[in-house]
């Protein structure tokens, strides 16, 4: 009983903006207010400054870990802009922009990087693993790909509840080898769930290049195997990303089911602060990729429209730098999450065992022989 008309899989990359900043699809540009584009660009510039500063702060020992999205900003700010606030988003770990664009406070994001008392996840996870309930952005975990079937389930629930929302999840091309990719897309395909699977193909899974991840020329081609829509998009083209996600969302809202979007981009930075790409890729390759950088490309267009100039660029960067460093200083001045939070949220209420263990910990901390106290914990 195969569907008589399988949804299309488009592998010619969707593009709106050429690398030189000229436009291929003027009609689409008309659908995005110019002031929004300038705001999106400013947010992406700020994101790059945040990433740059936080990597430096990690090197100075002020953060335990950091992971940047440099070169892939369009893959977070584009989808966040294209969707509605009641659409749910399941980020991996490289898309802080999806929440920041929706109003997740910068301070809260930095509080998570530090793991202090105002960290929404109460210092329970490594930096970069935040949660933003008020923005409908779901808690991040480390095991890659787990969010993919969850996104399918949330999309199912949206339709079941009669809500006209969609759910989107983000993951890397490396993650598309995990079983959860397969089971998630398959479930959503069968159920025709209003889901969008957004694969950031940035060329690498830590050190593993695309060629070692898969023999298929395009991740999006796998959509065929699930009977769902597939779309390759130039992930360095903010407009194209917005267009692709809008189309996928409209397709999903109309009841036609999920889309697998493959955004071709490049991870300009290291995988994380624990990585050094010099060990596995050439400077020439990096320089070639940098020429496709989504930020200068968008800036060229904005400048041609008279919507941006060097002064605004400088000002945006300076403000972002000041904001992030001030947020970090404030975050560092805050205390740890209260010790009692260690035993909370395991279950809705503490079990007797957890109550007993909380008392044990309190006794240990006052014993004078506690590593936590010795390390300066209070």
């Amino acid at each position: 009983m195969a569907a008589s008309q399988p949804p299309p899989v488009e592998i010619a990359p969707l593009r709106v903006l050429r690398a030189d900043g000229t436009i291929l699809d003027p009609e689409f540009i008309d659908s995005v207010p110019a002031s929004d584009i300038a705001r999106l660009y400013a947010a992406m510039v700020a994101q790059r400054v945040y990433d740059d500063r936080m990597i430096k702060m990690q090197r100075q020992g002020r953060l335990g870990f950091y992971l940047a999205c440099t070169g892939e900003e369009a893959c977070a700010y584009g989808p966040a802009y294209a969707l509605r606030d009641d659409d749910w988003m399941f980020p991996a770990y490289r898309e802080p922009g999806v929440a920041l664009w929706r109003g997740f406070p910068l301070q809260t994001w930095v509080d998570n990087l530090v793991g202090n008392c105002d960290d929404p996840v109460k210092g329970r996870q490594m930096p970069v693993h935040w949660s933003a309930r008020a923005q409908n952005v779901v808690s991040i975990s480390s095991p890659v790909g787990t969010q993919i079937p969850q996104c399918a389930g949330t999309a199912y629930a949206m339709r079941q509840r009669g809500d006209d929302a969609v759910a989107i999840c983000f993951f890397g091309e490396g993650t598309s080898s995990e079983g959860d990719f397969h089971v998630g897309l398959n479930f959503a395909g069968v159920a025709k769930a209003p889901a969008i699977f957004f694969c950031r193909n940035n060329g690498y899974a830590i050190s593993t290049p695309y060629e070692k991840t898969t023999a298929t020329p395009h991740i999006a081609l796998r959509a065929l195997g699930y009977g769902i829509r597939g779309q390759v998009v130039d992930g360095n083209d903010l407009f194209a990303v917005i267009k692709a996600v809008r189309e996928a969302a409209a397709f999903a809202r109309a009841g036609h089911g999920p889309t697998l979007i493959e955004a071709k981009t490049y991870r300009l930075a290291a995988h994380s602060t624990s990585d050094d790409p010099k060990a596995y890729r050439s400077r020439e390759e990096e320089a070639e990729a940098a020429a496709q950088d989504p930020l200068p490309r968008l800036r060229r267009w904005l400048e041609a429209q008279g919507l941006w100039d060097e002064a605004r660029e400088q000002q945006t960067q300076a403000e972002a730098s000041e904001a992030i460093l001030a947020a970090l200083a404030r975050a560092e001045a805050k205390p740890h999450p209260p010790l009692t939070t260690l035993f909370d949220d395991v279950f809705a209420a503490r079990t007797p065992l957890l109550e007993a263990q909380a008392l044990e910990l309190a006794a240990h901390l006052s014993s004078g022989d506690s590593a936590y106290r010795a390390s300066g914990g209070h």
Partner: protein, 339 residues
Amino acid sequence: MPTMNIIQAVNDALDLAMAADKDVVILGEDVGKFGGVFRATVGLQEKYGEDRVIDTPLAEAGIIGAAIGMAIYGLRPVAEIQFSDFIFPAYDQIVNELAKFRYRSGGEYPCPMVIRTPFGGGIRGGHYHSQSPEATFAHHAGLVCVAPSNPYDAKGLLLAALASPDPVMVFEPKRIYRGPAHGTNWSAHPKGEVPAGHYTVPIGKADIARPLRGKGIPVSLITYGAMVETCREAATKVEADGIDVELIDLRTLVPYDLPAIVESVSRTGRAVVANEAPKTCGFAAEIVALIMEHCFDWLQAPPLRVTGYDTPFPYTLEAAYLPDSGRVATALRSVARYK
């Protein structure tokens, strides 16, 4: 009062829950049109539709992953894993996602849902239709784990699980689904009587499945699931030896009912703990450790465990592998006669 077997009791609980709350959905392999390989969901798809009783693709990680996504959005999924032997493709989703969602999101994303899965041997299922993996889930913080041993508790615990704010795993004793012992049915058993309407059996509370008779050397016998009936049989066997057994059915493994265990063992001073799973790191090990920590001063004898052997679950030699009432009786005698 109607008598039901465990399958009917589970079906009745699901039916009541689905009628009362349209957010309750069932998903799993063959649960819909067919009603499940053990028939626990029979008739429900017909009654509540394909969107609420979902025949899923054959992928356990997909069933649990999708159920998590449904639960955080506000549905109340009941996922069926056809046999607990096949739960491991979903182990990551259960252990790293479901168990941690509330904690890791600072309480922003609670994930209340139910996983039902038949466990244990005795149905000639060999390695892969017989295992008892409950301890591997009890080990991970964040999962409520229950294991009913009779129709009354199966319905009441499932309805309690459906009202719980936490993820609950229900390990169903498939060997006694249709009767407390091979070739019997539940109609003669007091816990085969199942009230028609809604009721709950509290999570975290053990049950005294057989009280002391007041004659002989008292021994606490602690177990759960299908082993309750095996242990009941053993208790009857050792009456002739002057041994008086208090049989405790844990019903909930996490959070376990420590007061009930301590109260019983401090009174009897002797304990045998049984589980069907292999011995090493089985749930009985945890109970024995608790007894040592909390009841040492009262103990008249070292507590003993009766468990499956530390081998994979066998096919032809199943009856030799499974802890039977004879092995439990031997342990009871040994503990009672310890000097």
